[in-house]
């Protein structure tokens, strides 16, 4: 786990480049990291801005998990690499039916659940304030602001403020918009995530395999939009081209067979110890 994390940090640092500032009044510079997917990087003019605001949205409530997966992927791959904490601010309206990240699921997704901090305010105003405060803090890796629909207080001004905060602090801020429509915002990119049938599972052909999503780049500071099929690689903590044939040599830990069935042959030499009764 730690070894993998180190290699990914080294890999990300290699790709990190300084871009010239985009405006005359810009004090802080935008840093960007490439996706390592040539077509996508070309659209993004070299890579994703790391110290900026991004938006990930899904149309339906049941798409929330894949949108959350993409947002967490962005946070892990493009978040501040010398910090590890991920802040997750939840709009009270969104917390009603969406569920919460599951620690075991996060761990399998390549994200350390111990690094997650959740903020659950009572009002949207407080949620906005919390996201704003978190975006200012340079000790965080990324801030995910989960919001439901298109609430009025979260407008152009609010997103612009988050964008500026992110640029100053170097934290990746990601708006996770659940069942929301397209809306003008100051975000560097806006992604629309849709579900796609999973890839083949080399170990079990009838089961769900490697997860894939269709990501539509709806808004881009560099102008061009497009659509890609991406798949998240939790071992390298990086996105991959989902259409490419991925050969995994990695063995998945299988689910145990249930009782009252012919059992699989027991490994020889397995030691089972029971706890002492006293």
């Amino acid at each position: 786990m730690t070894a993998i994390a180190h290699t990914s940090i080294a890999g990300a640092a290699k790709n990190r480049v300084q871009l010239p500032s985009s405006g005359p009044g810009d004090k802080a510079r935008q840093t960007s990291v490439s996706f390592d997917i040539p077509d996508l990087d070309q659209h993004l003019n070299g890579g994703t801005w790391t110290n900026a605001l991004h938006e990930v949205r899904c149309s339906l409530a049941r798409d929330f998990a894949c949108a959350a997966g993409f947002a967490l992927g962005l946070a892990a791959q493009f978040g501040k690499q010398d910090a590890r904490r991920i802040f997750w601010v939840i709009d009270p309206a969104a917390s009603i039916d969406s569920g919460l990240p599951f620690p075991d699921g996060l761990s399998e997704y390549g994200i350390d659940p111990k690094a997650m901090v959740f903020v659950r305010p009572i009002t949207l105003q407080d949620a906005l304030w919390s996201a704003d405060q978190a975006a200012k803090c340079s000790d965080l890796s990324a801030v995910i602001f989960q919001v439901k629909g298109n609430p009025k207080p979260f407008d152009m001004t609010a997103t612009r403020r988050l964008m500026l905060r992110a640029r100053e602090s170097g934290v990746l801020v990601c708006v996770l918009r659940q069942s929301g429509a397209e809306e003008a915002s100051a975000a560097a990119t806006r992604w629309h995530v849709e579900i796609m049938p999973s890839g083949p599972d080399p170990d079990f052909e009838h089961g769900p395999g490697q997860t894939r999503h269709v990501q539509t780049l709806e808004r881009n500071r560099h102008g061009r939009t497009g659509q890609w099929t991406l798949s998240w690689n939790p071992e390298n903590r990086a996105f991959e081209d989902g259409t490419a044939k991925t050969q995994t040599t990695h063995r998945v830990r299988r689910i145990h067979a249930s009782a009252h069935r012919p059992d699989s042959p027991v490994e020889v030499g397995q030691v089972v110890d029971f706890e002492c009764a006293s």
Binding site: A68, S198, P208, P234
Partner: protein, 500 residues
């Protein structure tokens, strides 16, 4: 009461008197009445029917003991302006340990006068007494006339008071009276052994407590703060900016004391004493020990910002007190000269700021438990309650996997679904969740998670979890609750999580 606390002050001669009634000795009787009601012939203990015969339009209220206790509690909180050691005593009195406090008010006489003036202004009828022992003070306040008993004079002062002044029950006082003991002085000089043999040691205990031969410990309502700093105003302050500035000053005062003790603040509160007797208490909690006046003050700014509209200044606050409730050894004293990190920008400052504004129970992180049941595997606990420990839990988390076996999102509670599935243990072929029908294309399972019989009992059901993918590609984590034919004949299906 509908007139507020000070209704006694504005005399209501044109109106009928007010009385409070309660059931005593099988009759509804008056237990308290307005001062001027005596003119109508009313007295405490009178039955309500007699009182009604005298004053037909008497205004009666049933006694509300809960409200009385609450009132006494708020009064005790207000009395903390005099001393931190305030204890409730019975239904209608307070003990205050004022050792070392009276000189702050200009001596004992003006101390007592201050209490009486302020409480009378709030509409209370007060009887106060200051003495060396709690027992003597109680006796004099209830049964005597003296306000201040001089040092070492209490034994003589209370000797003329009746025996009931020793906080004895009525039966004991009666039986003593039958023998001829009417006053405290009667028994003070008697041989102790026969007295104890006949009337019990309780009598001697009370006598010793009143005369100071035995210590009496009062238990204060609030824990005494480790450190406190306060500011009194001749002219009450109202504006939020003034309050903020004052909190900053108080925090500045306390830093030197903290440095001397090598401590940092973890929990502190500001008490705002309103002139009309309300006490507002704001407390904040820091994730790590703090020793920076600006940061302490900033936490209270957030806390005040949260109150904002609820902050009812009324006629203003005349005392502001900063109490340090919890302080821990301070270890973050060394600043890195090379790293130009702003202290106010760091992670713990953020946690404190969010906790102060939103409440510490709104800033959460995972805490793990040793359980196989998914929803019992973790809980969300406040970050600031962990006392700086980041990874206290020993838990084995699964390694990253391309085909996950656990969902990324877990629903807060499993939601029932209508599923069509073959018995005994096939995955569902289609199901309806939140009014949408899903056709299943691929599935894997079951993964059986048995109930925790040591918690749920032996009759509870096992769960068979399935990872399923529908024709569009949505991936879900479902379970069948109960094993077909072995635990239940009609197992229910539940949706528990969503894969990314």
């Amino acid at each position: 009461m509908k007139w507020g606390k000070s209704w006694i002050l504005s005399a209501r001669p044109e109106n009928p008197p007010i009385a409070v009634t309660d059931t005593e000795k099988n009759a509804v009787r008056i237990v308290a009445h307005e001062a001027h009601a005596a003119r109508f012939g009313l007295f405490n203990g009178q039955s309500l029917s007699d009182a009604r015969a005298l004053v037909p339009d008497l205004e009666c209220h049933a006694r509300d003991r809960t409200a009385e206790r609450k009132l006494l509690g708020s009064l005790a909180a207000w009395c903390e302006r005099y001393t931190p050691l305030v204890a409730l005593d019975g239904e209608d009195s307070l003990f205050m340990d004022v050792t070392g406090c009276t000189h702050l008010f200009g001596g004992e006489a003006s101390f007592i006068a201050d209490i009486e003036t302020r409480l009378t202004a709030q509409g209370f009828t007060v009887r106060t007494c200051l003495a060396d022992t709690a027992g003597a003070a109680w006796a004099m306040a209830r049964h005597g006339t003296g306000r201040i008993i001089a040092r070492d004079q209490h034994a003589q002062a209370i000797s003329g008071l009746p025996l009931a002044a020793l906080r004895l029950d009525a039966v004991l006082v009666n039986s003593l009276g039958r023998v001829g003991f009417k006053t405290i002085g009667c028994i003070a000089g008697l041989p102790r052994a026969p007295l104890a043999a006949r009337f019990g040691t309780h009598l001697l205990d009370r006598l010793d407590q009143a005369s100071g031969r035995q210590d009496e410990i009062i238990s204060p309502l609030m824990p005494v703060a480790e450190l406190a700093s306060e500011k009194r105003f001749a002219d009450p302050i109202v504006h939020e900016d003034d309050i903020k500035r004052c909190i900053g000053l108080l925090a500045g005062n306390i830093i030197a004391l903290l440095e001397r003790r090598d401590l940092g603040v973890r929990t502190c509160e500001v008490k705002l004493f309103r002139v009309d007797g309300e006490v507002l208490s704001l407390s904040v909690h820091a994730a790590n020990p703090l020793r920076d006046a600006n940061r302490i003050a900033a936490l209270f700014h957030e806390r005040l910002a949260r109150l904002h509209t609820d902050l009812d200044a009324g006629f203003g606050f005349d005392i502001l007190r900063l109490n340090i409730l919890q302080a821990d050894p301070f270890n973050g004293g060394q600043h890195d000269l090379v790293e130009r990190k702003d202290a106010g920008d760091s992670y713990s400052a953020l946690i404190d700021r969010l906790g102060a504004r939103l409440g510490t129970d709104r800033v959460l992180q995972f805490s793990f438990a040793d359980s196989h049941i998914p929803e019992r595997r973790f809980t969300l606990v406040p970050v600031s309650g962990r006392d700086g420990k980041t990874d206290p839990d020993q838990v084995t988390l699964p390694a990253p996997a391309r085909t996950p076996t656990r969902p990324l999102i877990l629903l807060e509670r499993p939601e029932p679904i209508d599923a069509v599935a073959q018995v005994p243990d096939s995955p569902p072929s289609r199901f309806r969740w939140r009014k949408v029908l899903y056709e299943i294309a691929r599935s894997e399972g079951p993964e059986r998670i048995a109930c925790e019989w040591w918690r749920d009992g032996r009759a509870s059901l096992s769960r068979d979890y399935f990872r399923v993918e529908d024709t569009q590609g949505y991936r879900f984590w479902l379970f069948r609750y109960g094993l077909y034919d072995r635990e239940t004949t009609r197992p229910d299906w539940y949706m528990h999580g969503l894969f990314s």
